[in-house]
Structure formats: structure tokens, C-alpha cells
């Protein structure tokens, strides 16, 4: 197995172990405290289902906002470049006119 895969596997196993270990610890606490742990943690899969709406809404909003920012940057670049070019062309035209005069 490649070294990077080993490191990743180790990281994921540690994270999973911490989570599962904590899960069992909560389960014990929950059994003693009628379904909820003394530290305010309870296992509720309905909450997970409810939270999914925030996931897709949140990601959608972020993509929309970033997309809007990208379009605004393009527009800003175009407008400013156009304005700068116009001013420079006017200056050149004025310079040529004064030279001809």
C-alpha cells in the first residue's frame, strides 16, 4: 500500500475510532440518563434527516453567491478597462488635435 494511502487510512481510522468510542460512551451515558447524556448529547437520526436540507441549501447558496461574484468581477474588469481605454483615446485625440493646430 502506498505511504500516502497508509497515512490517510490512519487518519480516518483515528477519526472513526474517536467517533465510535464517543458514540458508545454516549450510549452508556444515555442509558443512565433516559436517552440523553448528561453533557447534552443525544443520538437522533431524525435530526440528521432534518439537517440535510441545510446542506443542499447552503451549498447552493454558496455556489450562487460565488457565481455572482465571478460575474461581477468580469463585468468590473470590462467596465473599468473600457473606461480607461476611452479616457486614453480621448487624451490621444486631444493631443493630435493640438499638434495639428
Amino acid at each position: 500500500m502506498k505511504r500516502s494511502s497508509k497515512i490517510l487510512l490512519l487518519i480516518v481510522m483515528i477519526a472513526l475510532s474517536l467517533s465510535v468510542f464517543s458514540l458508545f460512551a454516549f450510549a452508556e451515558d444515555g442509558a443512565e440518563n433516559n436517552g440523553s447524556s448528561g453533557i447534552g448529547v443525544s443520538i437522533d437520526f431524525q435530526r440528521f434527516v432534518n439537517s440535510l436540507q441545510y446542506m443542499w441549501k447552503g451549498m447552493l447558496c454558496i455556489f450562487i453567491v460565488i457565481g455572482a461574484i465571478i460575474l461581477v468581477i468580469y463585468a468590473l474588469n470590462k467596465v473599468v478597462n473600457y473606461a480607461v481605454d476611452s479616457i486614453e483615446n480621448k487624451k490621444k485625440a486631444n493631443t493630435n488635435k493640438s499638434v495639428n493646430d
Binding site: I11, I14, A15, F26, R47, Y54, C61, I73
Partner: protein, 371 residues
């Protein structure tokens, strides 16, 4: 003689464990040079608050006073954002704006972790844990404080996880990136075509971003606004002394206060419980799925693009600036010694800063009505 022994007799194994944790943070800061500006004050503060009957905390303790003055009201992280904004050069983003989309994709870990955490915690708590994935200490502090308040037992774990994992980005990201990409994909070159960006665009950018973000997520105005204010000070060209002060003196001063004050939440009774372990595990998931989200999005785009993108730059979309950008650039060079991805990865990294702050604002907008 009782005075000499009374404090020592109050010492428990929990205090000693926290001393060890503080020591590890200091070791990582000094020996391994991992985010020393954050980990050193945090580590030393951990030792300070875990001495029995410590005078640093308590009703009139200086750390408690600082916490109430700057963290309970989210002031310190917001002021720090002025300094961060003044340090950031948005030039690479402005010259190639489409790279910003990867900053959005890399926030996937926040929401995914929020969903996972909701199995164990109430929604506001789960959201505060998910925001660890923003890879941005100030954003994590602001969101956690607004949603949970100062009295929550998990605020400390969230803050420590956010800052610690930011320091561990060079360790966490490379294996995830390597697992999700092939060597051929890592060798994809992306020629950098610099475009001249006018000063007017650089001045208008922070103002426009603040307005857009504020209209979409009003709760993010403080976060985005302070970040963009710092950037405006930098780009306006007439406030060089203020810009320099914001980048150096202000940022360093607030970082000192922030680091040592967060440690008030590292008291043994608050920190050493099962929820801390779970939060640390979930925080790690957040970072992993942030990285995975960015890389996978880049690979998805490559299905439709003629000129392929190196999918590694998607991983740079997390807000850990500039570490994540440098990690991706380094991995590009490892795959191909002529593959220079720095400008693109830094551009994506910078856009991740904006996206993470917007994500924080969205989380607040979703959760505050539930409280």
C-alpha cells in the same frame, strides 16, 4: 504551611493531562514550527488555566476579563479579520475569477460535517462543529459564540479543533489529495497567464463583495465587512501606514490576545469529556471532506473541459491561507518538477477565504432563527 500544600492537594490527574496537552501544543509550535502564532499562546494559556485555583481565571481573572472583552462579543476575531484582509492580495483571483468556484466547492466539508454532527448534537451545536471545516479560526469563533454563547461546554473544543487542524493542513491534505487523484492528473500543467488588473478594480472589489455577501447573508456582514475593510485599506494606496499597522501590529497584537484567551475554554472540567473527542474527530472529517469536495469538483469539471484543470487546486479552496496553496504547489512540483501551480492555488486559496466567511454567514442565517 497549610497554604503551601492546599493548592497542591487540589491538583488532579485532569490538570496534569491538560498540562501535557499544553506542552504538546508548545512543542508543535516551537519544534515543528506549526502555526506558532496560534499554538504557542494556546498551549501556554492551557497550562495557566489548569493550575489549581489559578488567578488567571475566575470572576476577576485577567483571562476572563479578556474573554468577556474580546471573544464573548466576537470583537477580537473581527478585528483580526481587518489585519487578515490587509494581508491578502486578491490579484490572482481578479486575473482569473473562475478559479473562485473551487473556493465554493471546498466548503462542502462544513455542511457534510454539520449533517454528521447533527446525529449527536442539537442543530446549533452541530453547525458550530461543522464550521470547523471553514479552516478559519476567527469565523469558527464568531459562529460558535453567536450560536452557543460563552457558557457552552463545547466552545473550547471547537476553537481548539479549528486552530489545531489549521496547523495540521500540510499533514491532513496530501494523503487525501493523493488518494483522490492519479499521478497523471497531478502532472496536469496549468500555464499562468497574468492579466493586468487596474487599481480601480482592486478598490471596487472589496466594496462589491461586501454588498453582495451582505444582501445574501446579512449575518455575514460583520465577517465579510471587516475582512474587506482591511483589504480596502491595503488597496486604496493612500493609507500605507494604516495598512502596515493592520498587517503587522494589529494582527500580531490581536493574535496574542486571542490565542491566550481562547485557553480559558481549555479548563480540564470543560475540555476533558467525551464530546471533545467526538468534536475533534468530526473536525478532522470536516477538513478531509473539504479537501475531497474541492478535488472532486475539479475532476467533475474536467469531464466537460477541453483544457484540463489540475484537480489538486480544488483542495486549495479551504481557507487555510497560504498553507493550503503552498501544499498544492509543492505536490505539483513533486509530480512534475516543471509544474508551477502557485499562482492558481493561491488564487483558489484566497477565494476559499471569501467562501468560508460566506458559509459562516449562511450557517448563522440558518441557525439563529432556531435558537
Amino acid at each position: 504551611m497549610d497554604i503551601l500544600w492546599s493548592t497542591i492537594l487540589q491538583l488532579s490527574w485532569k490538570h496534569i493531562v491538560m498540562w501535557i496537552i499544553g506542552g504538546v501544543l508548545i512543542f508543535l509550535a516551537i519544534k515543528k514550527e506549526m502555526e506558532p502564532t496560534l499554538l504557542l499562546p494556546l498551549g501556554f494559556g492551557t497550562i495557566l488555566v489548569n493550575l489549581p485555583l489559578s488567578g488567571a481565571i475566575g470572576e476577576h481573572g485577567p483571562l476572563t476579563t479578556l474573554f468577556d472583552a474580546g471573544i464573548a462579543n466576537e470583537l477580537f476575531p473581527l478585528i483580526l479579520f481587518i489585519g487578515i484582509g490587509a494581508m491578502i492580495d486578491f490579484g490572482p483571483v481578479l486575473s482569473n475569477p473562475k478559479l473562485m468556484i473551487f473556493g465554493a466547492a471546498a466548503q462542502f466539508g462544513i455542511f457534510f460535517t454539520f449533517c454528521l454532527a447533527s446525529i449527536f448534537f442539537e442543530l446549533p451545536e452541530a453547525a458550530s462543529i461543522g464550521i470547523i471545516g471553514a479552516a478559519d479560526g476567527p469565523t469558527a469563533i464568531v459562529v460558535a459564540q453567536k450560536l452557543l454563547g460563552s457558557d457552552s461546554a463545547i466552545t473550547g473544543a471547537i476553537m481548539v479543533a479549528a486552530y489545531s487542524y489549521m496547523a495540521l493542513v500540510p499533514i491532513i491534505q496530501p494523503p487525501v489529495i493523493k488518494l483522490m487523484t492519479t499521478e497523471k492528473e497531478r502532472k496536469i500543467r496549468m500555464p499562468y497567464k497574468p492579466q493586468k488588473i487596474s487599481k480601480l478594480v482592486k478598490i471596487c472589489f472589496p466594496i462589491v463583495i461586501t454588498v453582495i455577501a451582505g444582501l445574501v447573508a446579512p449575518e455575514s456582514v460583520a465577517l465579510v465587512g471587516f475582512l474587506m475593510f482591511g483589504n480596502l485599506i491595503r488597496e486604496c494606496g493612500v493609507l500605507d501606514s494604516l495598512s502596515e499597522t493592520a498587517q503587522k501590529v494589529l494582527a500580531n497584537l490581536v493574535t496574542i490576545f486571542l490565542g491566550i484567551t481562547i485557553a480559558t475554554k481549555m479548563q480540564a472540567d470543560l475540555f476533558l469529556n467525551w464530546s471533545t473527542l467526538l468534536i475533534l474527530g468530526l473536525g478532522l472529517f470536516a477538513f478531509i471532506f473539504d479537501t475531497a469536495g474541492g478535488v472532486l469538483f475539479a475532476k467533475l469539471l474536467n469531464l466537460f473541459l477541453k483544457e484540463k484543470i489540475n484537480p489538486m487546486i480544488g483542495a486549495a479552496g479551504i481557507s487555510a491561507f497560504p498553507m493550503s496553496g503552498r501544499v498544492v504547489h509543492k505536490m505539483g512540483l513533486e509530480a512534475d518538477s516543471q509544474n508551477f501551480l502557485l499562482m492558481q492555488s493561491i488564487g483558489v486559496n484566497v477565494s476559499g477565504q471569501i467562501a468560508s466567511v460566506i458559509a459562516g454567514g449562511l450557517i448563522l442565517s440558518f441557525m439563529l432563527p432556531l435558537i
